[in-house]
Amino acid sequence: MTKPDLGVTIGSMAMKNPVMIASGIFGYGDEFAGLADYGELGALVLKTITREPRQGNPPAHRTVETPAGMVNAIGLENVGLDAFLRDKLPAALAHGTNVVASIAGDTPEGFAECARSLDGTDVAAIEINISCPNVKKGGMAFGVDAEASAEVTAAVRAATKKPIIPKLTPNVTDIASVAQACERAGADAISLTNTFSAMVIDVEGRRPLLAAGTGGLSGPAIRPAAVYRVHQVAQAVEVPVVGMGGIWNANDALEFIIAGASAVAVGTALYADPAAGNRIVAGIREYLQRHGIRQVSDLVGSIQL
């Protein structure tokens, strides 16, 4: 059999394979450089940026490991838009694959300002982070409300021609309706899920272990919950879905694809294995060959119910 075709497209972003790095996991890509060939992956989503630099949450602790997962409360510490454009983006683009910028703001206009500045750059797409559980204003405050999500999406839509991808929080009752609202507002794709709101308590001290009090759970612990939400959203919208949440190996990625995701993103797994994305690309290729499937897009949403 000829080599299977791993290519997928998300809006106008053509990817050589469906595997991305999730936002916030490896910063802007520079520190991980050399530990794997990130240019081999379909796309790299960089750490969420805001107009102004942010300090993030107070430390001790910002992350706590939990069974098959971790809870983080980084709080969107980032270098800000200007430093991002000047110092970080060029190095990220040098990896040689699609770079997706992730943006956040306190108001729809804050998001739009970031999008406008990115419009003239070489980023392949813009992810809209309306799902960060670790900031008081903005972030998840938008994502838990379908109307507010649509408002942010529309503001970003008006500011850029790049493909825009709202990233949803799982911490809602009806995720499909949030996805539909974003689609109507002009989203080219939907990505999900961000982390699940979570808390870890130091029993001796009777205090939260995270200085911020609460955080977001990621890693294999959330995978089945994320697969279900991806499936729900994929059935509710026409635009492509980027699925993530606990992906560790090719089998996990295939679950998301079969559930309806056109592409997947790998997060927490990178902390154990910086080459997890590359390993997953190889595993998906092997699966397609073994099953005689010519292109990965044939597998998207192929779940039989």
């Binding site: 996991i25 520190e31 991980f32 910002r62 490991e65 980084i74 510490e77 560790w248």
Partner: protein, 299 residues
């Protein structure tokens, strides 16, 4: 394992330049050194040629070939200081077993391999004019000290080691009390350090009290202090040393990436623009005491 021990795991690139390496290191020896403490000797020639005292390794605690399977415990790598180099190819770590990760590492037998990333972070800075180093270590803080003592000794620097712990069992070294003069650590003496060890349970004093008492004997010029241990000890030393001796401290914080990317492991830093954070994994683990905002550093 029969694979070449130092080749990068499948799917990884052999990185060029001076960035951190990822490699499979064979366990050459594993030995109990005290209750709950083990010494592991790893075969990692690439680390030997580049490592500096104070740097650490980020270790996957499960078998390297199981990286494709998500574990439910010890999902993240664990940071351990490079304790000593055994040229041409040996790297030692000393570990105190604390939880799941430590237990898994302590159970590794000679012949098994570890997936490690390193050397990571910034180690101790040794200024050219240094003639006397006072190393202060508390408990498992002694782990990176052998490497530092050896490096300083090689540079002809006189080394005074002041070490302390709650009990003799809380350090990865043998304690001797030859005469009424006090306790010592023979292995550290063999490396050329002038050692004072105090255990709170036997000598009944804290190491910071010893430091305070001995500060006056030190020359004003050419001396510096290097400290590794619990935050409370480091905080106290920062007060004691303020204005006088230059002080470098090695800090710990919970990590995810270990590379400076995720911003998990930050500590409050003093900087011109007011409040800012530095990462233990990349900016540290060794900091100049003046870089740290001690008021805001949580215990």
């Amino acid at each position: 394992m029969s694979e070449p021990h130092t080749s990068p795991p499948p799917g990884t690139q052999a990185p060029s330049g001076s960035g951190p390496l990822r490699l499979q290191a064979e366990v050459l020896e594993s030995e109990r050194v005290a209750a709950n403490h083990r010494r592991l000797l790893l075969r990692a020639p690439q680390i030997v040629t580049t490592a500096q005292p104070g740097q650490f390794l980020h270790i996957w605690c499960h078998p390297p070939e199981e990286i494709d399977r998500p574990p439910s415990a010890a999902l993240l790598r664990r940071p351990y200081s490079i304790s000593r180099l055994r040229p041409p190819d040996g790297v030692e770590i000393l570990l105190r077993v604390r939880g799941n990760g430590g237990r898994l590492l302590a159970a590794k037998a000679a012949g098994e391999s570890l997936d490690i990333i390193g050397p990571l972070g910034h180690g101790f800075r040794i200024s050219p004019g240094l003639s006397l180093a006072v190393i202060v270590a508390g408990g498992i803080g002694l782990a990176p000290v052998s490497f530092l003592v050896e490096r300083l000794g090689g540079l002809g620097v006189r080394v005074i080691l002041l070490a302390g712990a709650e009990t003799d069992e809380k350090i990865p070294f043998r304690v001797e009390r030859p005469q009424a003069g006090g306790a010592t650590l023979p292995e550290m003496e063999a490396l050329g350090a002038e050692v004072t060890f105090v255990s709170e349970s036997v000598e009944g004093v804290r190491i910071t009290e010893v430091v305070q008492a001995r500060l006056d004997e030190l020359p004003g010029e050419g001396a510096a202090m290097f400290a590794v241990g619990p935050r409370a000890m480091l905080k106290r030393l920062a007060e004691i040393a303020r204005g006088g001796l230059p002080l470098q401290v090695s800090l710990e914080e919970r990590m995810a990436c270990g590379l400076g990317a995720c911003r998990s492991c930050v500590v409050p830093a003093r900087s011109a623009d007011g409040a800012s954070y530095k990462t233990v994994c990349r900016d540290g683990p060794v900091f100049d005491a003046s870089e740290i905002d001690w008021e805001r550093l949580t215990p």
